[in-house]
Every structure is written in structure tokens, then in C-alpha cells.
């Protein structure tokens, strides 16, 4: 009896080991063939995440579902929701500084006093004069504001009450040649709405991107729900996808929110683009992170990206011939009396948008974008191109007794030494205090947790600081943009300026290229 039992166990063990060895051989063979075994489970054994992980949304193809580990959602007070209010302001501005990669002093096509229609050319880059930058609204040019070294910072337009648009000819993106489409896009002013990676610059029309990516959701702190801007725009999104797919040698990819089962009908019905679903915390909604998991940027190639809202502008222009920059902007953050969503045009005056809505208590910082990757708004600033969020937070220029040891006010943190991790739903009223001084790198493994990519940010940053171009390239600098490592910068115990260092590295790489 005992012998039979032992024999049974031995047989089972031998079978199990044969199975396991052959299973491993399959994995090794798959690696040789270049198949990513993490995404395609070839094993007969299910992955741990297959059994217990988040299930992909119903609409999603399981092989296009990416369950991202790590990251962190920063929950802040002042979520903007509710009905969309009218946010038409009297002044708008076009800001050449919003476009990276163009010469600091562009060639102006208009002068103060000129009248323009929405879609009229305002300026162009001297390096590539065929790429036009056009007026977001109709009205009169009232001011050309200059920054240091006579660089033009704002071209301010006093808007008409009744908006007038330039009516462009409509071209058929399915039949027109690729050259015609490119020439058309450059002439009507939608070219600068795209972005080229690496380096995050206005795309070079001479290059063909490997792929084009659009992220259709945002996970950034206080970011608006993108379904607001998608309502009624299904045709525009489809047209944009059709147009973009003519420009690339690869595919157009949509990064879709995989955290819920609900997918906006405009996205669900779009065809001609490959949809990839992402579940995870911030920065899962960042296009850079999505690119890394869909088809990583090669060191020899480039990809183009477009924000969802710019894609809708492109789609509407292709559909109707009208350059319409109307968009929904979230006024979010603790320093707004009433956080809300407003409908306005690109380049709206922040002064007017936020008038009477800012709390008197404390000094307020207005941020173009979110608290991680946004830019501080300057005095009498205007909405940046591509920005659909204005965040207001309090300046934290106060001393705090034993603030490092016994923090009195709750503050967002990824550290489990802070009681905050016990209250995952708590909304914080964060201020701009640095909560400590800058130090050398000490803690390790922290950035990796905040960046769901196969990249070692700390070693990359050290390579940048050392100016080692080859190593920077090898460690994946071309895959990164400031917004991707912004969360890591937030979490940094040593208070290092990660985004600034990364930009220095990207500039170095661009000079080399």
C-alpha cells in the first residue's frame, strides 16, 4: 500500500517535471523568436495575473489589454464637474512658446490693429515657413508681447462677439495623396497640433513616423473626464484617425481607459485604429507610457502623438473645413471657490476665466495643466495650446515646526510613514511647499515604482548628469518625456528636479541628432 502510494507520488512528480521542463523550453524558444512572453502567455500554466488580476473590459481584445503595475493616483481637492458653463472671454492669445522646436522669434504675418478670422495665419517658424500657426478666434490683434531677448511670448487677439471662421476647401483624406494631405495640414494650421517623439517637438514633415498614438484618457491629478469632449464628436474622431493613418508607415493607436467596462461610444465605434486598453494608476493615461507598451520608440525612428482634443480639431477641420478650437477646460483645484468645467476656445484669457472664482485666502498659483507636469501661469497669461486644465493651488511658503517629523496638515505621499495610505480615498489640499530640501540620490527603486516602463530612471538621470550620450540612449531617454517622469519627481525623497534634468538630456540628444 505504502509502496503504491510512493510510486504514485513519484509518477506525478516525474510527469510534473517533464511538463515544467517542456514548458520552459517553449518559453525559451519563444524568446528566441522574439515573442514577448509577458504579454502572450504561451505556457500551459496560467499566469498569476490571469487568475487574480484585473480582467480586461468586455470590449477589449485580451492581447491588447495592458495591466500596468506601479504608479500612484494623487487625489486633490477641487474636482471640476457639473454642467459645462460658457467660458467665452474677450481676449485670446496665441503663444509661440507653446511649440517646442521652433525658432524663438517667429515671423509674424499680422500686425497690431489687423483683423483676423479664426484660421487666419498669424505667424510661422522661420526654419519651416510652410508650417502655419493660425488664429484660434476671430477679432483684432491688440498686442504682441515679448519676453527676454525679444522672443515673442503672446500675440493677443480681442475677440469678436460673433465668431467668424475661414472656410477652407475640404479634401478627401481617402483619395488625396499623402503629399497633398501634408501640404494641406501645414497650410491650414493643424500641423503644430501634432507632436513628435523623441524630444516632444513639432513634427518634421520630411519624416515618416513609425506609428501615431492618441491617448483617449488622462490619469493626471484633477484631469477632466475626456468623455465630456467626446460627446457628439464621433465623426470628427473617425476623420482624424483616417487622416492620421495616411501619414504613418505603421498604425494609428488609441490608448483607451481599461479601468472601467464603459467605453465612450465615439471610441468604441472608431475604425481604422488599433485600440489598446490600459488599467493602472497614473501615469497609465500618459501617451508615453502607452507607447512603451504598444510599440516602443526605436532609437532610430520617431513616432507622432496627438492629444485627443487636438485630434478632434483636426477631424472637424477635415470634415467641415473650419478651424474650430472650441474646447472644454477644467478649472480645478482647492483655490477655486467653485471648480467647474467651461467651454471656451484655445488661448482664452486666464484672468477672465478665473475672475471672481479664486479664494482670497493665501497666495494662489495657477497652473496650465496638472500639478505634476503643468507650467506655472505667468501674469495675465492665456490658455496654452494643448492645455485643457487650469489647476489652482495655494503657495506653501510657510515654515512648519517639525514639519518633516510630525506633519500637522495632511499631504499627499507615496510613503507608508505617512498616515495617508490608510485613507486611500482622501482628497488632499496640497500646497507648493517642497517639504524638505534637495539632496543627493539616496533612496533607490522609488522612481521605478512610479514609472510603469522597463526603464531605470535613476540610472538614466545619472547618465544625463554625466553627459554620457550613448548610455542615455541605451537606457531609453528617447522613450521619455517630462510628463512621464513627473510622478517620480513628485515622489522623490531627495527632491531632485527630474523633469529639468531629463529635458537637459533630451536637448543634448537633439543637438547630437
Amino acid at each position: 500500500m505504502l509502496l503504491a502510494a510512493l510510486l504514485m507520488i513519484a509518477v506525478v512528480l516525474i510527469l510534473a517535471s517533464v511538463l515544467s521542463v517542456s514548458d520552459n523550453l517553449i518559453q525559451i524558444e519563444a524568446k528566441k523568436q522574439g515573442i514577448d512572453t509577458r504579454k502572450n502567455n504561451l505556457s500551459i500554466f496560467p499566469n498569476f495575473s490571469d487568475l487574480f488580476g484585473k480582467k480586461p473590459p468586455k470590449a477589449a481584445d485580451p492581447s491588447r489589454f495592458h495591466n500596468l503595475k506601479g504608479g500612484h493616483n494623487i487625489k486633490l481637492v477641487g474636482v471640476a464637474d457639473g454642467p459645462i458653463e460658457n467660458g467665452h472671454t474677450s481676449r485670446y492669445a496665441l503663444k509661440p512658446t507653446d511649440f517646442r522646436g521652433i525658432a524663438p522669434i517667429p515671423k509674424l504675418e499680422v500686425a497690431v490693429g489687423d483683423s483676423v478670422k479664426a484660421g487666419d495665419v498669424v505667424f510661422y517658424d522661420k526654419l519651416s515657413p510652410e508650417i502655419k500657426h493660425v488664429a484660434p478666434v476671430s477679432g483684432e490683434i491688440v498686442e504682441v508681447r515679448r519676453a527676454a531677448k525679444r522672443a515673442i511670448s503672446h500675440i493677443v487677439i480681442l475677440a469678436d462677439k460673433e465668431q467668424q471662421h475661414v472656410q477652407h476647401d475640404i479634401i478627401n483624406v481617402d483619395t488625396a495623396s499623402k503629399e497633398d494631405i501634408i501640404a494641406y495640414m501645414k497650410a491650414v494650421g493643424v500641423w503644430p497640433l501634432m507632436n513628435q517623439r523623441p524630444f516632444d517637438v513639432v513634427p518634421d514633415p520630411a519624416q515618416t513616423p513609425d506609428n501615431i498614438f492618441i491617448s483617449t484618457f488622462s490619469t493626471a491629478p484633477l484631469a477632466p473626464d475626456y468623455s465630456v469632449m467626446l460627446d457628439g464628436r464621433a465623426a470628427d474622431l473617425q476623420e482624424a484617425v483616417d487622416c492620421l493613418s495616411r501619414l504613418t508607415s505603421g498604425k494609428v493607436y488609441l490608448g483607451v481607459d481599461g479601468r472601467t467596462d464603459e467605453v465612450h461610444s465615439a471610441i468604441a465605434n472608431v475604425s481604422g485604429a488599433e485600440k489598446h486598453y490600459f488599467n493602472g494608476k497614473h501615469p497609465a493615461g500618459n501617451v508615453g507610457v502607452q507607447i512603451h507598451h504598444i510599440a516602443p520608440i526605436k532609437n532610430t525612428g520617431c513616432v507622432w502623438t496627438m492629444s485627443l482634443e487636438n485630434a478632434l480639431i483636426l477631424g472637424r477641420l477635415m470634415n467641415t473645413g473650419v478651424y474650430d478650437t472650441s474646447k472644454v477646460v477644467a478649472l480645478a483645484g482647492a483655490q477655486f471657490e467653485q471648480p467647474k468645467l467651461v467651454k471656451t476656445y484655445a488661448g482664452a484669457s486666464l484672468k477672465e476665466l478665473t475672475q471672481g472664482n479664486i479664494k482670497a485666502e493665501g497666495t494662489t498659483r495657477l497652473i496650465q495643466g496638472d500639478v505634476l507636469a503643468g507650467q506655472t501661469a505667468v501674469e495675465d497669461d492665456f490658455l496654452s495650446s494643448g492645455s485643457n486644465q487650469i489647476t489652482s493651488i495655494k503657495e506653501g511658503d510657510q515654515y512648519e515646526l517639525f514639519g518633516w517629523l510630525l506633519p500637522i496638515t495632511p499631504r499627499p505621499s507615496i510613503s507608508k510613514t505617512m498616515p495617508g495610505f490608510l485613507m486611500p480615498g482622501h482628497q488632499y489640499e496640497a500646497d507648493t511647499n517642497t517639504h524638505g530640501e534637495k539632496r543627493a540620490f539616496v533612496v533607490t527603486g522609488q522612481y521605478e515604482k512610479m514609472l510603469p516602463m522597463d526603464i531605470y530612471p535613476q540610472h538614466l538621470l545619472k547618465a544625463i548628469m554625466a553627459g554620457d550620450i550613448e548610455r542615455m540612449e541605451g537606457l531609453g531617454i528617447n522613450e521619455l518625456s517630462e510628463e512621464d517622469i513627473a510622478l517620480a519627481e513628485f515622489s522623490c525623497t531627495s527632491k531632485m528636479p527630474l523633469q529639468q534634468i531629463l529635458r537637459e538630456g533630451l536637448d543634448m540628444m537633439r543637438e547630437q541628432a
Partner: protein
């Protein structure tokens, strides 16, 4: 805000007296989190900073301090054969422990922080928090009777050559606390190895050697006799047959039976055995390790892989079994020596450990294996964690190098594949044209 304005009023001039200003800045930022705000980059910052990180580590080792202080006194009386119960003669043991520990603590910090402050003033940067942890660790890993001048030289060596020479906190290659210890180990071996150094307060460790009490003991004797408590007996001598040997030394001589003849398992587990000041009590160290793991400050990868490495090497040595020490069952190896202290507080130092997650596994595993090997094989000194950790500190950048090379190779390969397919593509186009 009265304190704040007072502190701001007494700020010394930075140009005229840089040293005073550095000192002031160090204490001011200790008292008040600065009012600096974010500029460029992110607009909000995590509440965690280096001060808080370091203080958490210091807090995690406080239980070791409490127990270590008491155990100095306890071992002293055990050697005399008096107050053998753990809590008997509580006041005497506590006072003797403090008399031994406080000078070590003060000298460590006076020398270490003094050098830190001086370098910070000279280089014109703020005082960095690294020595908070190093300074708390050093007393715990020294024998209680270590001459203070040796300690001072060791700390100075570790801080100047081990840390400041490399650029300060975050730049050092070797763990500063272990560097101080290894300096004593190689420069003054008789004061940190052998059977005679782990029990304090005697002129020697042979039977009949008399106690060595100082003025502080006399002072407390007056107090205790006035309070009608038992006092230090300056005529006492080391008891007959007492050797002062640690469990590891006994295991080296005669295996596990030889150890259990002197110490019980629970004694070794709870830590009432001779040894370095803070290393003896396993549960209290594990509580500290638990705090570090729960707060995410120390790497669980290093701790776990180091434990696995030690277990594996312990089993291999069991299989070999050439010496009495090798035959000690692997699980009993963890009752002796400073494995847990090294695992919780030394190997996990983020600056000197591997900085990649994959590297941490290798790093911890090798420390566990090499440390156990040194402990059992080394004839001169039956413990290996200090040497193993310093050895792997040296090789941590190499481990990381290979991890990063792997990452870079993966990326280059993907790009190379893209180039080849691209060139095929263009060739086709050319022929087509």
C-alpha cells in the same frame, strides 16, 4: 510663531562665519521644515524627505538600544555570577549599561557630526542627514568595552575616507558604520575579537580578574546605598569557569552541543548573551526590520534574498560537515551572531546596496552565502556579515552594471531589428522605382 521669529533673528551671517551658519542652518531646518516652494517641474512634492527617511531608520533601532544598554549590565553581572536572573539587580545593570553606552554614543556623534558639519561648512552645502543613521548604528555594532580613542579614530576614518572623500551622503561606496567597525577590526583586532571583549567592566576575562569600576560607579553607589539598594561591589571578580565566549566562538570550538552547554536556545533568541551592543536580541531586531519593511524604507528583496542565501549556504555546509561548526544545523545558525542585525540595518543601506531591483536579489543572495561561509570557515573570527556586506558593497555597482547592460541590450536589439526591416523596406522601394 515666537520661536520662529527668535530663531530667524539669531541667524548668523553666512559670509562672516560659514561654520556657524551651517550649524545654525542644520538646527533650524531640524526645528522647522523650510518655506521653500516648487519652481519649475512639479508643483507639489511628496511629504517624505531624507530627514524623515533617516529618522524612521533610527526609530526602528531604538528597541535594540534599550535592550543593548540593559544587556551590557546583565552580561557584566553574569560574568561575576551575581544577579543571574534577567531582571535581578535591575538598577545596577541599567546604570552599568548606560555608563558604558553613553560615552560611546557621545563620542561617535561628537566626532562624526563634527566632521560632517565641518565639511558642510567648507563645501557650502546644507548638513546632510546620512550620519543620523550611521551614528545610531555605530554604537550598536561595537563591543561595550571598546576604548573611546579607538572609537574616535574609527569614526573619523569612516566619515572622512569612507564618505566625505567620495562626496558626502549618497556618494559613498561602503557602508559608513561597517567601515568604522572594520577599521577597528583590522587596526585594533584585540579590542574587537576573541573571548575577552564582549563583556564589559573587568580588567581581564580570566577567572578571578577584578572589576574595573570608575568614578561614575562610585557616584551611583552613593545614591544606591542612600536609597538602600544593592550596590556595585568593587571587590567582585570574574566567576570561576567563566570564559566570556560568545555562542559563535563556542560553536567554532565544538559545534552546537558545545553552545547549548553554556547558553539555552531561548537565551540566544531573546539576546541575553555576550556580543556587540545591539546585535543580540533577535525579536527586537525583527521588530525593527518589520518597521522598515512596513514603511517601505528598506528593501524586502535584499532582506529575503540574504536570508535565502544564508539558509542555502548553511545547508551546503551541513552537507559538507568537515568541522564541528559546519555540523551545526542550519536553522541554529540564526540563533547565534548578528545575522538579523546585518540583514535589517546594514545590507539594506540604499546608498551602498545594488540600486536595481534585479541587482538587489543577487546582492542579498551573495551576502547571505558569503557571510555564512566566512562565519563558518574563518578561523580567526567566527562571524562574516561585516566582511560580506563590505565585499558586496564593492561589487554592487558591478551587479547593477550587468542589469543595466541587459536593459540597454534589449533596447538596442529592438532598434537594430527596426533598422534591418527598414533598410529592406527602402531597398524594395528602390527596386520598385
Amino acid at each position: 510663531m515666537g520661536l520662529l521669529s527668535f530663531l530667524q533673528k539669531i541667524e548668523p551671517d553666512k559670509k562672516k562665519s560659514p561654520f556657524l551658519h551651517t550649524l545654525y542652518d542644520g538646527f533650524f531646518t531640524f526645528a522647522y521644515a523650510p518655506n521653500s516652494t516648487t519652481k519649475g517641474g512639479v508643483h507639489i512634492r511628496d511629504g517624505m524627505d531624507l530627514k524623515r527617511t533617516m529618522v524612521m531608520v533610527v526609530l526602528a533601532m531604538q528597541l535594540c538600544y534599550v535592550f543593548g544598554t540593559y544587556n551590557i549590565g546583565h552580561q557584566h553581572f553574569v560574568a561575576m555570577g551575581e544577579h543571574l536572573g534577567f531582571l535581578e539587580g535591575f538598577h545596577l545593570k541599567l546604570v552599568h549599561g548606560l555608563i558604558k553606552l553613553l560615552p560611546i554614543f557621545i563620542v561617535t556623534h561628537a566626532v562624526g557630526l563634527g566632521i560632517e558639519f565641518w565639511f558642510a561648512a567648507k563645501k557650502g552645502h546644507a548638513i546632510e542627514e546620512g550620519f543620523l543613521v550611521s551614528g545610531a548604528l555605530i554604537p550598536l555594532i561595537m563591543p561595550p568595552d571598546l576604548p573611546l580613542w579607538i572609537l574616535a579614530v574609527a569614526v573619523a576614518f569612516a566619515v572622512i575616507l569612507g564618505k566625505e572623500a567620495f562626496g558626502g551622503t549618497g556618494m559613498n561606496i561602503w557602508n559608513v558604520a561597517l567601515l568604522a567597525r572594520v577599521f577597528v577590526f583590522f587596526a585594533y583586532p584585540t579590542s574587537i575579537s576573541g573571548d575577552e571583549v564582549w563583556v564589559s567592566g573587568f580588567e581581564g576575562m580570566a577567572s578571578g580578574a577584578s572589576v574595573d569600576y570608575g568614578w561614575a560607579h562610585g557616584l551611583f553607589n552613593n545614591l544606591f546605598s542612600w536609597m538602600d539598594l544593592s550596590t556595585f561591589n568593587s571587590a567582585a571578580v570574574v566567576a570561576d569557569g567563566y570564559s566570556g565566549a560568545t555562542p559563535l566562538a563556542l560553536a567554532y570550538q565544538g559545534g552546537w552541543e558545545n553552545v547549548t552547554a553554556t547558553f539555552s536556545e531561548s537565551q540566544m533568541f531573546w539576546g541575553s548573551i555576550p556580543g556587540s551592543i545591539g546585535e543580540t536580541s533577535k525579536p527586537l531586531i525583527l521588530i525593527g526590520a518589520g518597521i522598515l519593511l512596513a514603511t517601505g524604507i528598506a528593501s524586502w528583496r535584499i532582506m529575503l534574498s540574504m536570508f535565502i542565501g544564508a539558509v542555502v549556504m548553511g545547508m551546503i555546509l551541513n552537507g559538507w560537515g568537515a568541522t564541528p561548526f559546519m555540523t551545526v544545523p542550519w536553522q541554529y545558525q540564526f540563533y547565534m551572531g548578528s545575522f538579523f542585525f546585518a540583514m535589517a540595518f546594514m545590507a539594506t543601506d540604499p546608498v551602498t546596496a545594488s540600486s536595481t531591483n534585479a541587482g538587489k536579489w543577487v546582492y542579498g543572495l551573495l551576502i547571505g552565502m558569503i557571510g555564512m561561509l566566512i562565519r563558518v570557515i574563518n578561523p580567526a573570527y567566527p562571524e562574516g556579515w561585516m566582511l560580506a556586506i563590505l565585499f558586496l558593497n564593492t561589487f554592487a555597482p558591478l551587479i547593477d552594471h550587468y542589469v543595466l547592460e541587459g536593459n540597454m541590450k534589449r533596447r538596442m536589439k529592438a532598434s537594430a531589428a527596426a533598422i534591418s526591416s527598414h533598410s529592406v523596406h527602402t531597398e524594395n522601394e528602390v527596386t520598385h522605382a
